[in-house]
Symmetry: D2
Subunit: 379 residues, 4 copies
């Protein structure tokens, strides 16, 4: 068996999310980083390549050159990981797809739904895979929760409460460090929203993956902080299919929270709860009987969960492993595709999920602009 070969655009040494992608991609020895255009800074580009063992002749100064060169090689990369700022994703992804190269792209995939749809069509026409890295649904116990819900552990869903409080923005403002994140705070480059597209979409994706139900409409309120042109706190009423209600709160100005993703799904027969500060645990409350605390990789877990666990129960896995789970699913799908195998069931997030995120963001933005009114999601 040959390993899958991949390249990367962006993610020069020192970048947070680029590094996470690399570690995630190679974690399970399914893929090898073989080419890259990591930085416009030539020196940094080379350093990153060296660090990751990328051969000198496959270091590129531009993504177009890289796509063309790799496409023409017999052992060129199978897929590319795109970890540049959001407003550059579209052109880069389009270029690689046109050269017949599969794509993994950081989220949000594009700044507009229209661009996303174009990429989606292009990938479809070319028969290429397109993964977008929504992280949280990839934690092993979320897959446990998903399977429990499918198996009826909580009965019909009657409510969903999701939140994602962070404090990085308020802290970095106070300390004067926010300049570092300038592009995220530039309306033009971010697609018109900040908190909503940056972390609100993580919640939307998490709910969607965990429950399997379809969002139909939102009523959103955007909160601006100290005159910021972009919102840094969103409070959203959700309406899912069959009138199932939900509530979503995301904030970048919630002092005392590092990365506090939390989701609670309530059903007629019980509830499930997960919080990122205890990422290996799941709280399950059946309507009768005591609350249960499930832990990843225990004998009572479904294989959908245990197959994503690398360590015995009680040995903490974390954020890198959640990313690794995405890449593992993607690489297994890609490997099957290369072998011409029939489609199996793979659970990594795709450009469909990215489109859902953009539809969510667009609907929230319209709801806010129209005075916090119910707004259906675009098709």
């Amino acid at each position: 068996m040959k390993k899958i070969s991949f390249g990367m655009v962006g993610g020069g040494n020192g970048a947070f999310i680029g590094d996470v992608h690399r570690r995630g991609a190679v974690m399970d020895n399914l893929a090898v980083l073989s080419a890259g255009c990591f930085s416009r800074d030539l020196q940094k580009n080379k350093e990153t390549a060296f660090l990751w063992g990328v051969p000198e002749d496959r270091i590129y100064s531009g993504y177009e050159e890289m796509a063309a060169a790799e496409a023409s090689k017999s052992d060129g990369i199978d897929f590319v990981s795109i970890v540049t700022p959001t407003d550059t994703h579209y052109a880069i992804a389009k270029c690689f797809l046109e050269h017949g190269i599969h794509v993994v792209c950081d989220k949000p995939v594009t700044t507009t739904l229209e661009e996303c749809r174009k990429l989606q069509r292009l990938a479809g026409e070319k028969g290429l895979l397109f993964c977008v890295t929504y992280t949280y649904a990839s934690y092993a116990v979320i897959q446990q929760a998903r399977e429990m819900i499918r198996q009826g552990a909580i009965g019909n869903i009657i409510n969903i409460i999701a939140e994602y409080p962070q404090d990085w923005l308020i802290v970095s403002r106070a300390s004067g460090a926010s300049a570092k994140y300038a592009w995220r705070l530039d309306p033009a480059r971010s697609g018109g929203t900040a908190c909503c597209s940056d972390i609100g979409t993580h919640l939307e994706a998490l709910i969607s993956k965990m429950t399997g139900i379809r969002l139909e409409a939102v009523l959103a309120r955007f909160i601006h902080f100290q005159g910021s042109p972009l919102e840094h706190d969103i409070q959203v009423l959700l309406r899912y299919e069959n009138n199932i209600p939900g509530l979503l709160w995301a904030s970048q100005i919630a002092a005392g929270n590092d990365c506090g993703v939390r989701i609670r799904v309530f059903g007629e027969q019980g509830s499930l709860e997960w919080t990122h500060t205890r990422p290996m645990e799941l709280r399950y409350a059946p309507l009768e009987g005591p609350v249960q605390i499930l832990t990843a990789n225990k004998p009572y877990c479904y294989s959908a969960c245990t197959s994503l666990c690398r360590l015995p129960a009680g040995h903490p896995e974390g954020f890198y492993e959640a990313f690794g789970n995405i890449y593992q699913g993607f690489c297994r799908h890609l490997a099957a595709l290369k072998k011409g195998k029939a489609a199996e069931h793979f659970t990594y997030p795709t450009i469909e999920d990215a489109a859902a995120g953009l539809r969510f963001t667009a609907a929230c933005l319209r709801s806010e602009q129209n005075g916090n009114v119910w707004t259906a999601l675009d098709e």
Copy 2:
């Protein structure tokens, strides 16, 4: 010093909240239960009286008789505690006020704001105190939080997230036990709302007491469960003075939650968090420095907190003591009044707070009826 004497209407032996009132009222040896009209069931009325040492000649079969008789005694009751169903509060409270007797009333005080305003005016005209028992703000550490906020510990408030998930309704439906709570579920008797007036108002009162800021408008969504005429889950966007946002969720159908009140107040300089499942603790996150866990009755607490603690730190006090704190404040105020002392600072909830609760409920109901639109609170 003579103890304060009080009577009770409702709360026949076996009633949940009546018993809580009695225990709270006598907890600190400031008041003595001296008269009562506990139940229409003569036997139960007598039993309750005996249990609490009420003399036989001060057991009454009707509240009007009781008000008249006690008012005419030289050592008649100083105040009455009213713990009957909501729709009977108005007439009872009015009667005692008219006889010059101070009132403590369970919440919600009346089914309409109009009635509440009438009682408020009547009490004002008569120079009588009127306490309404919103419990949660009376926990000692909430007073600690309140004082910290006043002293600037979290800076200007920028967001408030409050929730109160319960599961009693969904559990009692499943077990067929909900008939017991029939009056709470009858729109006519409850004032037109269930979850909102029953527990939503607890959150409104808690936020208001803890932060001291004024609610101006709401956008509310009511969720009905399995065809119930009344709502059992509310999700409300809040707008406080100076455009300070908030989010409130209360539910009676949230499996896995007994009485999960939780409040988080975010400011520009930090945040404060309290949850009822750990009622003696307060989580304080300054913008810089580690998160702090404050405990009731420690040397670092303000006297506003420690003065409400009866036991050394680490010895759990609970729900009864929270009620006791309300009665303690009320009795101290009453004692001061009887001595003709100048007004001091007392922190128990009054009919002003009850009016705020009714305004909140009414605004939420209108918001829901008008399609989840922003609705200003009535004056």
Copy 3:
């Protein structure tokens, strides 16, 4: 039904444990405080009596006078609560027993096992009840745990880990406040140990009540702090019947702990854990299946637990209620006895448990003095 009448020796207004006893005794309306010798300070004696409604003619300046007078009354007290310093318990308890009055005594009951045995014999001869207030086993969920163990939920017990860290001594030393507790730190008055008799015995009693197994031997180490003549930290290996091992740690110098009682009982089929900082919860880990968090007063609890709950699940009860549970059991036993009823099953701690505590303390002390060697408990 007439209420039980009781008196108190010690517990002048302001005393911590005396107040806890009074509140616990009257909590469930089974008993009335009718007489007292609360303090040698005449003024304080009277104030305390007034506060609790004790008639003036039943305020006594000495316990002997009180015992004689009450014994001669037709409506004299049924029992006395003794809440004076340990070294005075023996004479007081003896006096009341000799006058035919039942006794509740704070722990440790005496400073020597010999005195305890004498009281035990005297009570036996007189047919009188003798309760000693070990608190922790009286929390409702401990009774749940006890019943689960009896029903086999964890199989055969194979290990017990118990701890009770406090920091009051180290904190009060640092702040210069330890003079207040002088008698506790005087070897002569305390019976020769501090931490061991003061809080170690609480753990011994808790283990014993919860598991029902008999302690046979200890290997104890006493740790002295900054030259204190008495120990303020004990670390004890335990050997129960059938060679079941256990480990006990108690400390008065463990910074950051208010009253951190915690017990874990391990069996061949699972484990049970309780911690005082979450007094209403029980952690149950069956050998297979997820960990369960049980809460007091839920439908799945045994009646041994729910019968001790006064509030719906989720409404915190605390330390006063644990004391109330002791008095409730004692008063029910006393009421049955007065009616000449056959013995029922009552779960309050008795002088048997007090003797067990003294045997434990004595054996620990000998083990320490002999160089930390295994030491059998005296018969």
Copy 4:
């Protein structure tokens, strides 16, 4: 800069700890796996090599051949990682040291202290590094705790409470799966102890690294389970230098615990606590002021902590990263050595720590055999 090159003995694909070593070793791109003798099973040996990109000509069927061949290459491995069963470590490590190759070895390093001392001398004579992978002290927040203790945050240490409950043995016995761990349970192969050497030493190493104080004597009790020849639960009184006391409990039969390492260090001015179930958090209780919860990689952390953090605060790192921290320290030391740089301060565990672990185990065993008596550690 050239990366460090390493080989591995043991750790055929599917082995738990071998895989952890590999991931840890390459995590920070400091080292490359270049040679291996992973399994006696030829097929598995090759598969593992392929998976990790080890060239075919550097796959070896025996460790002696590997040591000789790699030592003779100009670009041979810099160090070897030994992840075979304990009783084979000595011969393998000796062989590589004799060929001038640095060593990382899983713990326990050998079955006897004598062998450990020989390896230590040999490494010293050869000027070679020898790392032994005690994991827990390598979590980033433990380094934070260590630095806080050094800086006086808790004052003089007065007590240490450490525990490591697991349930794998009792669970695997119940499920019949314990055969898999047969060598661990064979007295001959394990060095005469099970729980003590396997996990007790982890606690000893954790205490030692975190506090910096020296263990002088133990009083140990070994508990056998269902007739096992080896102990599966140990309860140990510890005596550190200056008579500082400690208490250690480790168990492989504690139902409901996956990997519950917990350490509490008490000082005259406060305490520090860490538990493996929340590996990124540290509880710090100063004698005065509220309890603090410190989180990894926050601005208030010492660089000793933040330098070991790869992700922003709130993004969980786990067990792999703790291993990565060991290898990072080791590789940095090795890189410095290769450059002929002066010794810096490196914090990875060495054969000195391994010797401490063996001395601890030997003393515990003697204490148990002599009837649970105080036993000084061998020099």
